[in-house]
């Protein structure tokens, strides 16, 4: 334990040890061990129902593990798999609402993310009237707008067109280069070559694979 905590000193990171979780009798996670250091872009892949979203919910504090330890260091941003927006509010109102939540001085960083994802023109459109891809862009922006040190992204590019998908990975790489810890969960392993680390969730445990080999 002491070694783990020392390893986290000084930057954004996540450390997970022996995490178990079950939905009633169905055991999903059977002792997950995992570490994410600063300046690392990592991915977790696994089949549908393998427990990827459960693990990310535990890391983000949405779900309490039955057993185990999760340690965070630094501000974190969480982009849930299912888009979580308020359909009655516009894009700008979402940003203002979360600006208040994050106690941000301004929305400059959020605006940069919007420009990168190219949806600034929808600022005054209600979330309920946005296309699926644009909703997902807003969902992602809400996770990034406070410039978190640790990013937990659960299939964040669902509904993106090819260009946006590429821009997402450029954005993820730039965040990694700026020292942020980025964890992307996907049921696809196509993105292996973009990652520094690739982990596979199988039979309730995480196994490290060589990045780029998936």
């Amino acid at each position: 334990m002491a070694t783990l905590l020392t390893g986290l000193a000084g930057g954004g990171a996540v450390e997970v040890r022996g995490v178990y979780h079950a939905y009633r009798r169905r055991v999903v996670l059977r002792g997950v061990d995992f570490g994410l250091g600063p300046g690392v872009l990592a991915g977790i892949v696994g089949e549908n129902g393998a427990g990827k979203t459960t693990l990310l919910k535990i890391l983000a504090g949405e779900l309490r593990a039955d057993r185990g330890m999760v340690h965070h260091r630094g501000r974190f941003g969480y982009c849930p798999q299912e888009v979580v927006l308020n359909d009655a509010l516009t894009v700008r109102q979402h940003l203002e609402f979360f600006k208040a939540a994050f106690a941000l001085a301004d929305l400059r960083h959020a605006e940069k993310v919007m420009e990168t994802l190219r949806f600034s023109q929808y600022a005054d459109v209600r979330a309920g009237a946005l296309s699926g891809g644009t909703r997902q862009k807003l969902n992602l922006t809400l996770a990034l707008m406070h410039d978190p040190q640790v990013l937990l992204l659960d299939e964040p590019y669902q509904g993106f067109d090819w260009d946006t998908y590429q821009r997402f990975w450029e954005l993820a790489a730039r965040l990694r280069d700026a020292g942020r810890s980025v964890l992307v969960v996907s049921h696809l392993a196509y993105d292996g070559e973009r990652l520094d680390e690739l982990w596979r969730l199988e039979a309730g445990t995480l196994r490290r694979e060589t990045a780029g080999a998936a």
Binding site: M1, L5, R17, G18, V19, I58, A60, G61, E62, L63, R64, A65, D66, R67, G68, M69, V70, H71, H72, R73, G74, R75, F76, Y78, P80, E82, V84, L85, N86, D87, A88, L89, Q93, E96, F97, F98, A100, A101, F102, A103, L104, A105, R108, H109, K112, V113, T116, R126, L142, L144, H146, D147, Q149, V150, L171, R174, L175, A178, G179, R180
Partner: protein, 286 residues
């Protein structure tokens, strides 16, 4: 304090925007209330309905259509606030949680919801009272509005509870409609011979029905019955608060909690929350 006031104002504003964009609820407010109380007045016979009002002990014999208009208005306002709050809670639960986990104080979110409910209930009560006053003259119109207001508050809180606990929208709608119908119809002497049965005292709007009936046909003030209704509101709101607290909880402990190896043995998740979401640093280029 100033920050909380600003957060409360922001959350209330966005809450009101959300309610305002609930077009079905707005249609209900504008058309359903006057239509319902108007039809009741026109279609229910106006013959006298003698009964003893528990709130004042008086033997009253109001016109059947006026009496039913009161219960009809109670039915309408409770359904509208119940539906509004249910819809907002049901669809907004995960959004509230996301806000709370981003650092929005849950107290401000809850107070904002309460403020929206109070405002909506006050407007509805005033509107329904005005609609009734077109047809006849209640003896204590302000008390009538207050009774409607308290009932609307209670069902609004009930909507929050149902929106937190039920899993399908239709379940909530059905539960709210049936609760309101059973609750209020059983207390109307025109349609229920058992309106003075002691069991009716346990119904959620008993206080408001008694107070509103006294407001319509008596000059006796009945503060105890308004208080009883407010007690129902407080109890239901407490349930709603617990449900909201549970739904928006963060499974990660508060910042600063020590992480120790020993605590793993307690079979509990040991975490240390990021110093949080409430901080801002200079943005790096994304």
């Amino acid at each position: 304090m100033r920050r909380h006031l600003s957060l409360f104002a922001t959350a209330t504003w966005y809450d009101l925007i959300e309610h305002g964009r609930n077009r079905f609820a707005m249609l209900l407010v504008v058309f359903f209330i006057p239509t319902w109380v108007g039809l009741v007045y026109l279609t229910i016979p106006d013959r006298a309905t003698p009964f003893q009002l528990a709130a004042t002990g008086e033997r009253l014999a109001p016109a059947g259509n006026e009496l039913t208009q009161i219960t009809g208005a109670l039915n309408a306002v409770t359904l509208v606030t119940g539906f509004m709050m249910f819809a907002a809670t049901f669809t907004g639960g995960r959004f509230d949680r996301r806000l709370a986990m981003a650092g929005y104080p849950r107290t401000d979110l809850v107070l904002a919801k309460a403020a929206s409910l109070i405002l909506a209930s006050a407007l509805l009560a005033a509107y329904a009272t005005a609609a009734m006053c077109i047809a006849w003259a209640p003896k204590q119109p302000y008390l009538l509005a207050a009774a409607l207001f308290c009932a609307a508050l209670t069902y609004g809180a009930m909507g929050v509870v149902m929106g937190s606990l039920l899993h399908r929208e239709v379940e909530g709608m059905f539960a709210l409609v049936m609760t309101s119908v059973i609750d209020i119809a059983l207390q109307n002497p025109v349609v229920s011979a058992g309106a003075d049965n002691p069991l009716t005292r346990l119904l959620p709007t008993y206080g408001s029905v008694q107070a509103a009936t006294a407001a319509g046909f008596s000059t006796t003030p009945v503060p105890a019955y308004l208080s009883l209704q407010l007690l129902w509101f407080a109890a239901t709101a407490l349930l709603g608060l617990l449900a909201f607290h549970h739904r928006t909880r963060n499974a990660l402990p508060r910042p600063g909690r020590p992480v120790t190896a020993e605590s793993r043995d307690a079979a509990a998740l040991e975490t240390q929350r990021a110093p949080a979401a409430g901080q801002n640093s200079s943005p790096s280029s994304p």
